[in-house]
Amino acid sequence: MAAPDDWQVVWEDNQPSYHPVDPIAGVDIESRLRSLISSGRDTMDEAIDIDGTRLRIHMSLIDTPEGHLPVGAQVWIGSVTEPEPTLRPVGGCCWNSHEMHAEISRTFFSMSAIDYDLYSDVRDPSTLTRKVVQADEPALLSACYSPTTEERLSGEIILLHDDGRILLWRYDAAVLPADQTVRGFCHDVTDHQNLQLGHQFDEPSAHGVGVLTFPTSSADPLLSYWHGGTPSWMPEQLHQGLLPRPLRIRQATGATLLHVPSLPSLAVNTSPIPAELEVGVDQWLPISLQLTKYPTFGPVGRRIYIAQIEPINLLEAV
C-alpha cells in the first residue's frame, strides 16, 4: 500500500471482497489508516454513527518483516457494546527478485509453526513453500521470476501446519517492478472458507477415503479430511471435506505407522497397517489403514497421505 490510491479492501465480513477504501458507516477510514501508518502503532478510537450509535474503531498494521514498509492493516468497526475483537491471523511477506529470496514476518511464521523460536526472516523459495500442499501459483511464480508488470495478485494456498492440521490461506500481493519486489500478506481463512483438495481421489468406497497428516513432532497423526463424506460406520454426522476437528490416529502395538514419513517417497504404498481412530473422548475404533503418497512436491509430501480406512471389527465399532 504505497499511496491511498492503491489501497484496496480485500476481505470484509468474513469473505473476500475487493473494492476501494470508502468510508464505513460515515467513518473516515482513509485518514485513520494514514495516521496508523505514520505512527506505526495500533489505534483505537470512537465515532458516532449517523443514527447516533457510538462506534469503536480498532486498527492494526499487518506485521511485516523487519525493516519493510506496511503491506496492509486490519480494521474493525463495531458498537462500543460489542466485545473486543481479536485480530485475524494475517502475516506479511516480501519477495525480493534481486536477492531471489523472501522475507517473512513473525506472524507469517507463527501461523503454521509449533515452535516460534525457529523463526528466521529470510527464506529461499523451497523453504518458503515447504509446508504447501497446493497453491494458485502460475501468476505468482512468473511475477517472482520477473516482476515486470505492476499488478495485484490474489489466490489460495493449502498448507500443513506443523501440528498436522490442514489450513487454507488467502494471499494478496502487489507486484512492484520499480523495486523488483512482490509484497503482500497471507491470511488464514480456514475458519470461514471451504477448503477443497484438488487431488483427483479414486471414487469413495465403503472403506472411507481420507487424508492422513503427520505433525512435525512425534505426536499422533491426524485424520483431517474425508473425501466423499464420512463412511457409514463412523459414529458421527456425515461430513465431507475438511473435518471441523481432526481425529487422532494411534498406531497399534508393534505397527509401523510412525515410520511412514521416513520411507522413500518413491515407494509409499503401504500394506494395511493396524491402528486406532479416536472417535470420541477416550473412544478408540480399531481400524486398518492403507496409505499412498499424496502427489505433491517438497518435504511436505512426507507428512500427507491418502488413507483408505476400514474398521477392523464392525461389531466392536457399534
Partner: protein, 334 residues
C-alpha cells in the same frame, strides 16, 4: 556403448557368490564357475581369498589351458565390514586393465529403518565427502534418485524377505555436479543377521538413463518439431556452475542433433545465471506442470550460439525436482 574386461561378483551372503555384471552387461545371479571356465581361471578360490583376507589381490596365475593370466580382484566393503562385492579382471599380464567398475555398498536394518552407507557409495554421486553421513533414513538415502520402477521390489525385499530375498534392478541418479547417471542396485536379505546387504554400481558409459513409460506419462514434453525439443537439465548442488543439458526426451532441435553422444550442449556463460534464477523460483513451485519461460543461448561445440526460448518445469518427484528440470527448447534465432 563400451565393453569392459571387468566382472562384478556379489558376495552379499556368506558362502554365496554370483556374477551380476560381466563384459559391460548386467547379469542376474550368474554362475562364477562358468565365468571362471570361460576366462580359463578358477575364480572361486580367488574370491574366497579376497573375502577372508579382506584385501585386494593382484596375482599372476597359470591358466588352465596354459600360459599366464593376471588376476586382479578388488573388494567393495560394506559398512558392516563384510565384502559385499568383488570386481575381477583377468587378462594378459602385459595388458593394461580397463577402468575399474565403480561400486559402493550399503546395509539396511528394518528394525531401525536406517540405511548405513559407505564413503565410496556417497562419492558415486557427490563431488567430495562434504555432507556424507554413514547413517540415514531411507528417504534421504534415495533423494538423488529419479526413475526407479522396481523400488517396490526392493521395499518388499526389506520388509518381507521370506517372500522375496534378493533384488537386482536399475535406477537413474542425479550426480551432485548435475549430470545424470544409470546405476544398478543389487541386494540380498540376510535372515540370520536381520539386515539387507547391497551395493550400487555406476553403469554410466555402459548404459544411458532410461525414462520409463510410467515416468514419461507424468512429463509434459510439449511441441516437437524441427526447431523444438525437450531436454532434462540437471543442476549442480553448488548453485552456481553451469547446469547440464543431459538427456533429450524427444528428438533435439535440428541444429543440435549430433551423432557423437558425448558432445553436450553448452550454455552461453552470460546466460547461466538466468537459468539458475529459473531453477531457484521453481524450487518453490508445488504444482505439477507449473512452468517458467526464459531466453538463453545454446551451442554445440564450436558452432555459433543460437538464442532459444526455454520453458522449464520441475521433474515430477518430491525432492529431485529442485535440481532437475524438464525444459522445452525452441530455437528462435540461429
Amino acid at each position: 556403448m563400451s565393453s569392459s574386461n571387468w566382472h562384478v561378483v556379489e558376495t552379499l551372503l556368506p558362502d554365496v557368490a554370483t556374477v551380476v555384471w560381466s563384459a559391460g552387461m548386467r547379469h542376474e545371479w550368474g554362475s562364477v564357475s562358468r565365468l571362471g571356465s570361460s576366462l580359463g581361471v578358477d575364480l572361486l578360490p580367488v574370491i574366497d581369498t579376497v573375502r577372508d583376507r579382506c584385501t585386494r589381490l593382484d596375482d599372476t596365475v597359470r591358466a588352465r589351458r596354459g600360459g599366464e593370466r593376471r588376476v586382479i580382484a578388488a573388494p567393495a566393503f560394506g559398512p558392516d565390514g563384510v565384502v559385499h562385492a568383488v570386481s575381477i579382471w583377468v587378462g594378459d599380464p602385459s595388458a593394461d586393465p580397463d577402468p575399474e567398475p565403480i561400486l559402493g555398498s550399503m546395509v539396511f536394518t528394518p528394525e531401525t529403518l536406517r540405511v548405513g552407507s559407505t564413503e565410496p557409495l556417497y562419492l558415486m554421486s557427490a563431488i567430495d565427502l562434504v555432507g556424507y553421513a554413514g547413517d540415514r533414513d531411507p528417504s534421504r538415502f534415495l533423494h538423488k534418485v529419479f526413475g526407479f520402477d522396481q523400488i517396490n521390489e526392493l521395499v518388499e525385499t526389506c520388509v518381507t524377505p521370506e517372500v522375496r530375498d534378493k533384488f537386482a534392478g536399475t535406477l537413474n541418479v542425479k550426480h551432485d555436479d548435475g549430470h545424470l547417471m544409470r546405476w544398478q542396485g543389487v541386494a540380498r536379505f540376510d535372515i540370520g543377521e536381520k539386515m539387507l546387504r547391497g551395493f550400487a554400481q555406476d553403469l554410466s558409459g555402459f548404459e544411458d538413463v532410461v525414462i520409463t513409460p510410467g515416468d514419461f506419462s507424468r512429463i509434459s514434453v510439449g511441441n516437437v518439431g524441427q526447431r523444438s525439443g525437450t531436454v532434462l537439465i540437471g543442476f549442480p548442488v553448488d548453485e552456481k556452475t553451469s547446469p547440464v543439458l543431459h538427456y533429450w526426451l524427444t528428438t533435439p532441435p535440428e541444429i543440435f542433433q549430433t551423432h557423437d553422444l558425448s558432445v553436450r550442449l553448452a550454455i552461453h556463460p552470460d546466460d547461466i545465471s538466468e537459468l539458475w534464477r529459473v531453477q531457484r523460483v521453481l524450487s518453490g513451485s508445488v504444482t505439477v506442470g507449473s512452468s517458467l519461460s526464459t531466453t538463453i543461448r545454446l551451442a554445440l561445440d564450436d558452432q555459433p550460439w543460437a538464442a532459444c526460448e526455454v520453458v522449464s518445469s520441475r521433474y515430477p518427484g518430491e525432492q529431485i525436482g529442485d535440481h532437475l528440470l524438464v525444459s522445452q527448447v525452441t530455437v528462435i534465432n540461429e
